[in-house]
């Protein structure tokens, strides 16, 4: 998330909105975005409804066995079609902003 904030101007320049989704409450998200200087929206899905709808639930992986989201990144175009997905097999290895920007540029280049 930190790295996405650092490259946010590159996303803005291409017209790509960045948004995070987790089970955290809006209060937790506000504190963290203030503390870490995040200017993109962090959306709150406390009951993991959207997380389930995207099938990116990691059951009982949170504190006290809470259901949380597994790391996953989607690039969605303006007609709501998924254009690029990253589903990691290692919690520590998440998509880097360059990967998302690269995928977008590649789609633009090939005229898709």
């Amino acid at each position: 998330m930190r790295s996405f904030q650092q490259r946010l101007s590159d996303f803005d320049a291409r017209g790509i909105r960045v948004v995070g989704i987790s089970v955290d409450s809006p209060d937790v998200n506000r504190r963290h975005s203030q503390k870490l200087g995040y200017t993109f929206p962090l959306l709150s899905d406390p009951e993991a409804k959207v997380i389930r709808r995207y099938d990116v639930l990691h059951p009982r992986a949170g504190p006290k066995g809470a259901d949380i989201a597994r790391p996953a990144e989607f690039l969605i175009d303006s007609s709501r079609v998924v254009r690029w997905v990253n589903l990691t097999d290692n919690i520590a290895v998440r998509a880097r902003p360059e990967q998302v920007l690269g995928a977008f540029d590649e789609l633009q280049r090939t005229g898709q």
């Binding site: 790509i16 948004v19 929206p41 959207v50 995207y54 949170g62 989201a69 079609v81 998924v82 919690i91």
Partner: protein, 156 residues
């Protein structure tokens, strides 16, 4: 080592076996620096910085043990050196289990939307309590071309 050497050392204080202490400190450093190195993708994707510190720590501990057992009349550390090395090995095993096994237990997510499929809609509150929908994100006044949706584990 030999008889004369031994005689000469009788009554003398044995030397401080520094590689044991330094090696143990470096191995602990390898463990506790994970939080720092995890902040950078290059040292988080593969924890080579931590493994390097573990390697240096274990090498020093083994050097210390080699001195303690090889020249016990000169160097201290047969007992505490063995204990420190065992603790360091245990902690490194625990670390490796976490990093190379536990972190890889990620659900398959076979039902996640794939390339070319329609992304499920959502409507959620942002950090200021304002509802934000996927529709709003892709059809703003500035006419955004795409949305990068990042699911993350959260800070709780």
């Amino acid at each position: 080592m030999d008889f004369a050497d031994g005689i000469a050392k009788i009554g003398m204080k044995r030397k401080w076996n520094w590689p044991i202490w330094v090696g143990f400190a470096v191995a602990l450093g390898g463990l506790f620096s994970y939080g720092f190195f995890a902040r950078f993708p290059i040292t988080r994707d593969f924890p080579w910085a931590n493994l390097l510190l573990f390697g240096i720590g274990i090498a020093l501990l083994l050097l210390g043990l080699f001195r303690a057992f090889g020249r016990p009349q000169l160097y201290r550390g047969k007992i505490f050196g063995s204990i420190f090395t065992a603790i360091a090995m245990f902690l490194i095993s625990l670390f490796s289990y976490e990093i190379f096994y536990v972190l890889r237990q990620v659900p398959a997510s076979t039902g996640a939307p794939r390339i070319g499929q329609l992304a499920p809609d959502f409507f959620l509150l942002d950090q200021s309590g304002k509802p934000v929908g996927l529709g709003d994100l892709i059809s703003g006044p500035s006419g955004p071309k795409a949305v990068a949706v990042i699911f993350y584990r959260g800070f709780w």
